[in-house]
């Protein structure tokens, strides 16, 4: 085997530069969606911005470890959630005592018992809760449950993607998702019906 011809080497370098530029373009096109998830995993806009910047710095450095054609959004989120756990920046607003998990009809039942069964027929029953109360309720769920709720219900990731991102079995994703959603409704019930 002889040394590669100079023009072969030049071609290899050009191909690599092109692949890299494509990777960066695709990653940047996903930034808004990555931020959207990051924002709900940490407590402030500043932390979310930092986390997204660190994620992109790491992604751009290790772009070669991304397999073209696979889910880049999930790949970026895996970096992001790992960084988030490493830095211990996950929202930890959970009170010391964890109340019992309620059932799935809990919030609807609370609203119905406060305003009558017909209240659930009205279109605006949900909107009566402020958007802030929803965001606060989300931030109060235990981190392990919240991470899954944010990925699936806000980030639109499949169970399989969430499992890969968080490096947990798919069955764990499902059970955490169910518990997280119930916990969210319980928090919302505390705020909505007092």
């Amino acid at each position: 085997m002889s040394e590669p011809e100079p023009d072969t080497e030049a071609r290899r370098i050009a191909t690599e530069a092109r692949d890299r530029a494509r990777f960066e373009e695709e990653a940047l096109s996903l930034a808004d969606q990555v931020y959207r998830v990051a924002r709900r995993l940490v407590g402030s806009r500043e932390e979310a911005e930092d986390l997204v910047q660190e994620t992109y710095a790491r992604a751009f450095r290790s772009w070669r470890s991304y397999t073209a054609g696979t889910n880049m959004r999930a790949w970026l989120l895996r970096i992001l959630t790992n960084l988030n756990v490493d830095r211990g920046r996950r929202i930890q607003r959970t009170p010391q005592t964890q109340p019992l998990e309620e059932t799935d009809y809990y919030l609807a039942n609370k609203l119905a018992s406060a305003g009558g069964e017909q209240v659930l027929e009205t279109d605006d029953v949900v909107e009566r809760m402020s958007q802030d109360s929803v965001v606060n309720a989300l931030s109060e769920i235990q981190p392990q449950f919240r991470d899954v709720v944010v990925l699936v219900d806000i980030g639109d990731f499949t169970y399989a993607d969430a499992a890969q991102i968080l490096d947990i079995p798919i069955g764990t994703v499902m059970s955490r998702l169910h518990r997280g959603r119930r916990a969210l409704k319980q928090r919302l019930a505390e705020g909505a019906v007092t």
């Binding site: 940047l28 808004d32 931020y35 997204v52 450095r61 919030l107 659930l120 949900v126 958007q131 969210l184």
Partner: protein, 79 residues
């Protein structure tokens, strides 16, 4: 193990909306919902709650962040 049909329907709620029920479970839920206003209202409520949670939780990227990310392009693996 007969149990309350509404309790059973409540158990199926999340997977119903996630479309992860088996065909048999799906029919079970549909059959019950067709005759039960109580559960139907709760299913509709849950569906709109999910949409509302998503809308409420989505916050757009702050202006300026995109430019900062763009500056990171070309970072060296050894840097």
């Amino acid at each position: 193990m007969s149990g309350d049909p509404c309790d059973r329907c409540e158990e199926l709620l999340q997977d119903f909306l996630d479309r992860t029920l088996s065909d048999a479970e799906w029919r079970e839920a549909e059959t019950h919902l067709a005759g039960c206003d109580y559960c139907s209202r709760r299913y509709r409520f849950e569906a709109s709650l999910r949409r509302y949670v998503k809308t409420s939780a989505i916050e757009r990227m702050p202006p300026g962040l995109m430019a900062k990310l763009d500056e990171l392009r070309g970072l060296d693996a050894t840097a």
